[in-house]
Subunit: 502 residues, 2 copies
C-alpha cells in the first residue's frame, strides 16, 4: 500500500464520501488511489474555487466533512476564498494538497511555493506528511480536526514522494475532540434580552426552543445575518435575521440590555466607516454566551422558563397567484416563494438583489455566505445537491458573483444535478454603488461598478457548459421557466433581468 | 489629500500607468482616488486572477510595472496564482490591497483575514500602511521594490482608515535598487560549454550576441524552457528552448562540461518521479553564472571572443500555402505562423497542444508561463494588448486552462483589445494523461482527466462575454477565421478542435 492509498482509505474509513478534485501532475498517485478506493466518489471541478465551495455545501447539508484534492500552492490559492467562507460557516472540509516531491524542495521548480504558509490563514489545522508510514494516520487526523468541535478547514499537504512511497499503512479514524459540554446557563432571560442565534441553533429544533423562550419571557430572538444553514418556511417558527445594513441592525439591537450569543459571533459591521463604531452591540449591553451543545441548552431553558408554551409555526401560504409584472428582485422572491418545492435547498448569493422569501413558503433550508468572499453560490449548490440528491436546489445568484466561478455550471451538467440557478442580473456591483453613496461628496456612479458594456449573456454562458438556460424579464416568464425547470431533472439556469436596487 | 489620493498620486509619479481593478467595499476611497488621478488608467476585471495576470502581461511588454487594486484577503487569494506566475517571470507588479479598517481588527468581521500572511508566499515585498502620512511614500517604495533589481511582486496593504484619513502627503518616486553591476565573466567558453539564456538575454540584442559567441566558440546556446518574453522570427537568430520534457532536456544538456546560466535558473524537472534526479544539469558539469547587466556582459564576451562574426538571422519564410487538412496542434502552429502579422505578440498557454511556430515567421514576441499555474494566458493577453495597442496579440490557449479565467474575454471586449484567442480544444487534461502513462501499471485514461461530457462550447462562452467567436475544424477554416479576425479591430475567439497529443 502506498502513501496515497493509505490516505484515501483513511479518509473513507473516517466518513468522507465525496472528494471534489481538480488534479495536477503532482497528484497522480492520489488520483489513482482515489479512483481505486471503494465508496469514495470523485467529482471533477474545472477550477479549485468550485471544488472548495462544493465541499462546503456538501458539509453543510450532509453534516459530515467533504474532501478536496488540489494541486500545489497555486491550486490551493484559487480555492482559498471559498475555504475562507467555509471556515466562517464552520463547515468541516478536508483539503488534500498534492505538493511537489521533497526532492524538489529549494530548487525553484516552476510550481514550488510555501503551501503551508498559504493554507494557514484559511485553515484551522495544517499538516505536511513527513513520513509515508504515517500518511494514513495524518489523513485520519485531518478528518478529526475538520469535524472538531469546533468544525473547520483542515489542510493536509502531501508531497508527491510521500504519496508514491510503498510504505503506507492503514489507519483507523482518529477520535474527535471532546463532545461539547452542557451549555452554561444565561443569568436571566426576559424583556431587554436579545438572543442572537447562529450555527446549530438555526435548525428547526433550536428555533422552536428559542421561540418558546421568547414567547414566554418577552426576550427578542434574532438570527445571525448570514447563516450557514437556516431552516425556514411552513411549520418552522418565523425568525428575523440581523440586518446586513448596519443602521438597520443597530435599530434591531437598540434597547437590548443583555445580548446572549447562541453559537453566534458578536455583531459587528462588515465594513467600517469613518467616525462610527465597528461594534454593533449597544453601549451598556452585557454579553453572555450560550455555546457547546446549544440545542440541549436552549431546550433546557425552554423547559424551565416556558414549560406551558407551544412554539409558533409559520402557516403555509398555500397557492399564490402572482400578478404578471416586469421582474424585480422582490418579484423573484415572490415567484420563488410561491413555487418552492417542499424540502428545497435555497442557496442565496444574490447580494443586493437578495430578498427574503415570503413567510410560510414551503419548508426549506437556506444557505448563505457568512464569509462574504463572492463566488460561492454555484459551487455551494453542487455540494448541497450531491449531499441531498432527492431535494431540489434553487440557487439565487448575483451576476457579479456568478462570474467568479462560472465553471460550476459544467460540473452541475456533468453530474446531472437538480439545481436551478436564477441569476439576478442587475448589470452592476450594486453593493459598491450603495456603499459609496454613503460617503460625503461621492456618488454611486462609477464605470468600475458597471457590468454592462458589454452585457453578460448568462443564457449563452450556461449553454457553453451544457446547461439549458432561458431569460426571464417578467414574473410570468420566471414562473413559467421555474415551473419547467423544477419539473425536469438536471441543472437549469434562468437569467432574471432585474433593475438594481441601488 | 487623503491617504488614498497620496497612494494613487505616488503610483502615477513613480511611473505606473495602468491599474487592473476588481473593487470591493473596503476599497471605495482607493477607487475614488484612482478615478481622479490623471494619467492613471483603471481597467475593470471581473475576477482577481484576470487583474494579476493582466498586470504581468503589461509589465512584460511595457517594461514598467502595472498595478492591481484588489479586495482584502479573499480577493488577493484569487489573484495569487497569477502573482506566482508573475514572480517566476520576474515581472514587476504592484498590488494595492484594500483591507478592512484597523478598527475592525480582531472582531471577525466577515472578510477579515491575515492579508500579509497570504501575500508573503507570492510577493518579494509586503508592507501594510500603518500611518496615513506615509501612505504615499509606502506606495512609492512599493513601485521601487517591484522594479528591483530584481524585479518582482510588491504588495501594499491599505487598511480602509489609512485610505480615508485626511493626512495623506505627496511622495516622490523612491530610488530603485543599485544598477546591476558588470556581469562577471565566465572562465572560458568553448566546445562543451552550454549557455542557458533567460530573462533579458532573450531579446534580439542578447540573442544576437549569444549567437555570435556560439558560432565562434562552438559553445551551445539554449533558451530557458518557459521564457517570460522571447523575441523570435525573421531577423532574429534561431534558438532552441530547453525542452519541458525531462528526458529530452537531459539529451539537450548531455555532454555539457560547463553550464553558464545567463539570467536563467538551473535546469530542474518541473515534477519529480521516483528514482530520478530532480536536477537536470549533467553529473560533473560545472555551473557558472552571468547575471547583472547580461546584455552588456554578452556583448563584451562576443566582442572579445567573436570579433569578426555576424549573428545569424532567421530568413523570412515568405508566403506559405497551407494544405487543407483536419486541424491538429501542428496545423494551428503552421497556420498561425504563416499568417502572423509583423510585430505580433504571441501568448502561449496551449500546454500539451503547444507547438513551436515555424522558423522564419514574422518577427514577434513570445510570452509563456514560467510559473505553470494555469489560467494565465487570456489575462496576460489583456496586459500585453494594453501595453502595445498597435501590435496584434494572438493568444494560444488550452481548453482546460481557459476555464480558469474565462472572464478575461469580457475585459477584452470592454476595452476593445486587438486580441485573437485560439482555444485549442482537445477535451482533456492531456498533460495528466501523458504523465500517468509514465507510471508503472497505470494508463493515461481517467474520467478525472476528461473534459468532455459535456463538451465545452467556447463559441458560446465568447458570445456570453461579447466576443465574436467561430469554430474551426480544418486548417482552411482556421486560416479563414484568423485572416478575418486579424483584419478587424477588437477581440475575437476561434475554437480550434484538435486531437489530443497524449
Amino acid at each position: 500500500m502506498n502513501g496515497a492509498h493509505a490516505i484515501m482509505a483513511a479518509l473513507r474509513d473516517a466518513g468522507i464520501r465525496v472528494c471534489f478534485v481538480n488534479p495536477g501532475t503532482s497528484e497522480l498517485h492520489l488520483v489513482s488511489a482515489l479512483e481505486r478506493t471503494a465508496d469514495l466518489r470523485a467529482i471533477l471541478c474545472l477550477f479549485e474555487g468550485v471544488a472548495t465551495g462544493a465541499a462546503d455545501g456538501f458539509a453543510r447539508m450532509a453534516g459530515v466533512p467533504a474532501a478536496t484534492v488540489l494541486h500545489q500552492g497555486a491550486g490551493l490559492a484559487y480555492g482559498l476564498a471559498n475555504l475562507h467562507n467555509a471556515g466562517r460557516a464552520a463547515s468541516p472540509v478536508v483539503n488534500v494538497i498534492g505538493d511537489g516531491a521533497t526532492t524538489l524542495r529549494g530548487l525553484s521548480a516552476p510550481l514550488e511555493s510555501d503551501v503551508a504558509a498559504l493554507a494557514a490563514p484559511m485553515s484551522s489545522w495544517v499538516h505536511t506528511v513527513g513520513d509515508p508510514s504515517h500518511a494514513g494516520a495524518d489523513a485520519a487526523a485531518a478528518v478529526a480536526a475538520a469535524k472538531g468541535p469546533p468544525a473547520g478547514v483542515a489542510t493536509l499537504i502531501v508531497p508527491a514522494d510521500m504519496a508514491w512511497s510503498p510504505n503506507g499503512r492503514p489507519a483507523p479514524p482518529a477520535s474527535a475532540g471532546p463532545r461539547p459540554g452542557r451549555a452554561p446557563e444565561p443569568s436571566a432571560i426576559g424583556p431587554g434580552t436579545t438572543l442572537l442565534l447562529g450555527g446549530a441553533a438555526l435548525r428547526a429544533r433550536g428555533l422552536a426552543a428559542a421561540d418558546r423562550l421568547a414567547q414566554a419571557t418577552r426576550a427578542r430572538i434574532l438570527a445571525e445575518p448570514f447563516p450557514g444553514r437556516l431552516e425556514q418556511g411552513a411549520g418552522v417558527p418565523p425568525i428575523k435575521r440581523l440586518s446586513a445594513d448596519p443602521d438597520t441592525a443597530s435599530r434591531q439591537l437598540a434597547g437590548s440590555r443583555k445580548l446572549v450569543l447562541v453559537d453566534a459571533a458578536p455583531p459587528v459591521r462588515a465594513f467600517a466607516e469613518p467616525d462610527t463604531s465597528a461594534v454593533l452591540t449597544p453601549a451598556g449591553c452585557t454579553v453572555e454566551h450560550l455555546d457547546g451543545d446549544v440545542l440541549a441548552g436552549l431546550e433546557e431553558l425552554a423547559a424551565r422558563l416556558a414549560p406551558q408554551r407551544q412554539g409558533r409555526a409559520q402557516q403555509p401560504i398555500g397557492p399564490t397567484a402572482i400578478a404578471d409584472a416586469p421582474l424585480t428582485a422582490d418579484g423573484v422572491a415572490q415567484v420563488a416563494g410561491a413555487l418552492l418545492p417542499e424540502g428545497a435547498i435555497v442557496v442565496d448569493e444574490a447580494n443586493t438583489s437578495s430578498v427574503a422569501l415570503p413567510c410560510g413558503t414551503a419548508r426549506h433550508d437556506l444557505l448563505t455566505n457568512p464569509g462574504f468572499a463572492i463566488g460561492l453560490g454555484m459551487p455551494l449548490a453542487i455540494g448541497a445537491a450531491l449531499a441531498c440528491p432527492d431535494r431540489p436546489v434553487i440557487c439565487l445568484e448575483a451576476d457579479g458573483s456568478a462570474m467568479y466561478t462560472p465553471s460550476a455550471l459544467w460540473t452541475q451538467a456533468r453530474e446531472r444535478l437538480n439545481i436551478t440557478t436564477i441569476v439576478l442580473v442587475n448589470r452592476g456591483y450594486a453593493i459598491l454603488r450603495k456603499a459609496r453613496q454613503r460617503l460625503p461628496g461621492e456618488t454611486g456612479a462609477s464605470p468600475l461598478f458597471d457590468l454592462s458594456n458589454p452585457d453578460l449573456d448568462f443564457v449563452a454562458l450556461a449553454a457553453a457548459m451544457g446547461v439549458p438556460g432561458h431569460r426571464a424579464i417578467s414574473t410570468a416568464d420566471l414562473a413559467a421557466r421555474l415551473t419547467h425547470a423544477l419539473a425536469r431533472p438536471g441543472p437549469h439556469l434562468i437569467e432574471a433581468i432585474v433593475p438594481p436596487r441601488f
